[in-house]
């Protein structure tokens, strides 16, 4: 049942393929959260190809690992990775954001492979805490993962969940922050300062590690060392680049939900052909 672990070299190739697909389907849909999908995709790559025990074959098993994408708006990255896992045919994504398509702009359970409907921010972690408590009660091997956005760290509900996860010693829970440091109105520092984040989370009772969230090798090493500490939930501060992999999108707020023009699309595809992401 445990799925095979993908080698790092292959995951690095996958990252280019995933980025190309993210751009392709957003360009086709004329909608999507481009910058954040490009920053988070390496995290999803390593989770689904290397770390988590979840696949179309075991999705009915209550012992599968759970993933909830709390930053639901970057669903394009999730769709692309799930399609590659075989949860649904990739060409379904040509309907992305089209009228009455199930492939809407946020994750829903109507799509095979997706656990929870997210989109409102500050929701994923609480649900994961419930998953993790239930897994502990059942002595289940299921591990629980969530990806949070840096902007949604300002949601009070997250901090309620941070308290609870430590209180219940949920070391079967891992939260990963896609820390690209930009949110829709500006930098996190301008909008609502987060730092010193590691100290805050440690004070809340979490075991915290920093990692380059666009480095497949580093992500693999970090996520393979879970749990960071027995009896504590694990938090990964994954430092990422918004728009990673496309030069004109990187660290440019305009690409939060920017859609490339035809010309920009060609440039992006050329760059991603040549890119050495890792």
């Amino acid at each position: 049942m445990k799925r095979e672990k993908m080698e790092v070299d292959l995951m690095i190739e996958k990252s280019v393929e995933y980025r190309r697909n993210i751009i392709k389907y957003i360009f086709n849909a004329k909608a999507g959260h481009t910058g954040g999908s490009l920053s988070v995709v390496d995290i999803l790559n390593v989770l689904y190809n290397r770390i988590m025990n979840v696949s179309p074959e075991n999705f009915d098993s209550n012992e599968r690992d759970r993933f909830v994408q709390s930053k639901g708006h970057c669903v394009e990255a999730l769709y692309v990775v799930l399609a590659d896992q075989g949860f649904f045919p990739e060409e379904d994504l040509l309907t992305l954001c089209k009228f009455n398509s199930p492939y809407i702009g946020h994750p829903t359970k109507y799509i095979p492979g997706i656990e929870q409907n997210t989109g409102g921010l500050g929701h994923g972690l609480s649900i994961c805490c419930g998953n993790a408590i239930a897994a502990k009660k059942d002595n289940s091997p299921a591990k629980v993962y969530t990806v949070l956005g840096d902007g949604e760290m300002a949601e009070g509900s997250n901090w309620e969940a941070f308290m609870l996860a430590a209180h219940y010693k949920l070391d079967n829970l891992c939260a990963i922050l896609d820390y690209n440091k930009l949110q829709i109105s500006g930098s996190n520092a301008e909008v609502m300062a987060l730092e010193p984040l590691d100290k805050k989370l440690e004070a809340f009772g979490w075991a915290v590690k920093h990692v380059d969230g666009n480095d497949i090798n580093a992500l693999t090493e970090t996520l393979e060392s879970l749990p960071f500490e027995d009896g504590k939930p694990s938090f990964v501060i994954a430092h990422t680049t918004k728009g990673k992999g496309v030069s004109y999108m990187e660290n440019n707020l305009k690409w939060h939900h920017g859609v490339p023009s035809e010309e920009q699309y060609k440039i992006a595809m050329d760059e991603l052909n040549l890119a050495e992401i890792a």
Binding site: Q116, N117, G119, G120, G122, H123, S126, G130, K137
Partner: protein, 328 residues
């Protein structure tokens, strides 16, 4: 005679709070099934769940005073197959955590049983922060939640059991005042039946109908008895314990004799049972005389639940007078 009647009523009324019935029923369910979990927001005392916590320490999950997290965690537990009762005062549960109810429970279809305790004006003297007069309105407008508001201990027990067996979200709502074991005679088997989505006729009558819900059913029943004794007016009383889905079949059948209809609820007159029934009747082409009794859109007075009910006419006397007014 009046004094004897009053004593009889006291006997009926001194059963126990629906909240007590909830606590007993959920304990019985937990004893049979270790997947039954109660989730609380520092509310085990107000939820009468201290005995539950003592008997089933592995089946109670304390969240602390964090209602958003309460509902989110409950959704996560339910999605793992746990039969989850998330218990918190209705005022907080359905306001503070409304987005979690909408997204994590209803939209994500996680079969949480949301239990709003000390609902309506149960905490009457504590003021508007502690009143829940909006919960029917907000939850009616959210897809995929059954809203059940039991009137008496009988309905409460049946509702809890039914909710535990359902694989979709449910909102249950009750107060902390003692209510009758059953508003009708306990051996009246035709009246003591409970089906989610079906109204329960607790008294027959052809002159008018009280369509009531929750703890407003009892004063409606008392008013009907008073009208019968004092005025020879026979009022039907229906407990519409399920606010959503509404028993449209029964309501239309009642409306079809043309007699007046009075709705009674411990909720704002906006967005609750009354407006749900009004919408149904108007769109169905019924033109019965019609009155919504509830709490007006006003700064709510404070006091005991009984005092507030009296003030707004959700009482034996007030409802009997409303009936006389509508008949004249």
């Amino acid at each position: 005679m009046a004094e004897i009647m009053a004593n009889e009523k006291v006997k009926l009324a001194v059963a126990k709070a629906n909240l007590e019935t909830f606590s007993e029923t959920v304990q019985a369910l937990a004893a049979q099934d270790r997947d039954v979990l109660v989730v609380t927001s520092d509310s085990r005392g107000s939820g009468k769940l201290v005995p539950f916590g003592q008997k089933f320490p592995e089946q109670i999950v304390e969240i602390g005073i964090a209602e958003q997290n309460l509902v989110g965690v409950a959704a996560g537990l339910a999605s793992m197959g746990k039969k989850t009762f998330a218990v918190s005062p209705a005022c907080f549960l359905t306001a503070r955590s409304l987005e979690q109810i909408k997204n994590d429970v209803c939209y994500s279809d996680n079969a949480v049983n949301l239990v709003g305790i000390s609902a309506g004006v149960s905490y009457g003297a504590l003021g508007t922060t502690h009143h829940s007069l909006h919960d029917f309105a907000v939850l009616r407008a959210i897809n995929n939640v059954t809203i059940i508001v039991p009137a008496d201990n009988f309905e409460t027990e049946e509702a809890i059991k039914a909710a535990a067996a359902m694989d979709s979200p449910v909102y249950l709502r009750f107060g902390k005042k003692n209510m009758p074991a059953s508003i009708c005679s306990p051996d009246d088997l035709t009246r003591n039946n409970f089906t989610v989505g079906k109204g329960r006729t607790v008294r027959d009558g052809e002159d008018l109908t009280f369509l009531a819900t929750g703890e407003a059913v009892w004063p409606a029943y008392e008013a009907a008895e008073k009208l019968a004794i004092e005025q020879n007016i026979q009022a039907k009383v229906v407990s519409l314990h399920t606010i959503k889905p509404l028993d449209s079949e029964l309501i239309k059948e009642i409306a079809s004799n043309g007699s007046p209809i009075i709705t009674v609820e411990e909720h704002s007159v906006y967005g609750g049972l009354g407006e749900a029934v009004a919408s149904l009747l108007m769109q169905g082409g019924y033109h019965n005389k019609f009155k919504i009794v509830g709490l007006p859109d006003d700064h709510t007075v404070s006091g005991s639940q009984n005092e507030i009910f009296d003030y707004y006419g959700i009482s034996e006397k007030g409802l009997a007078q409303t009936a006389l007014d509508i008949l004249n």
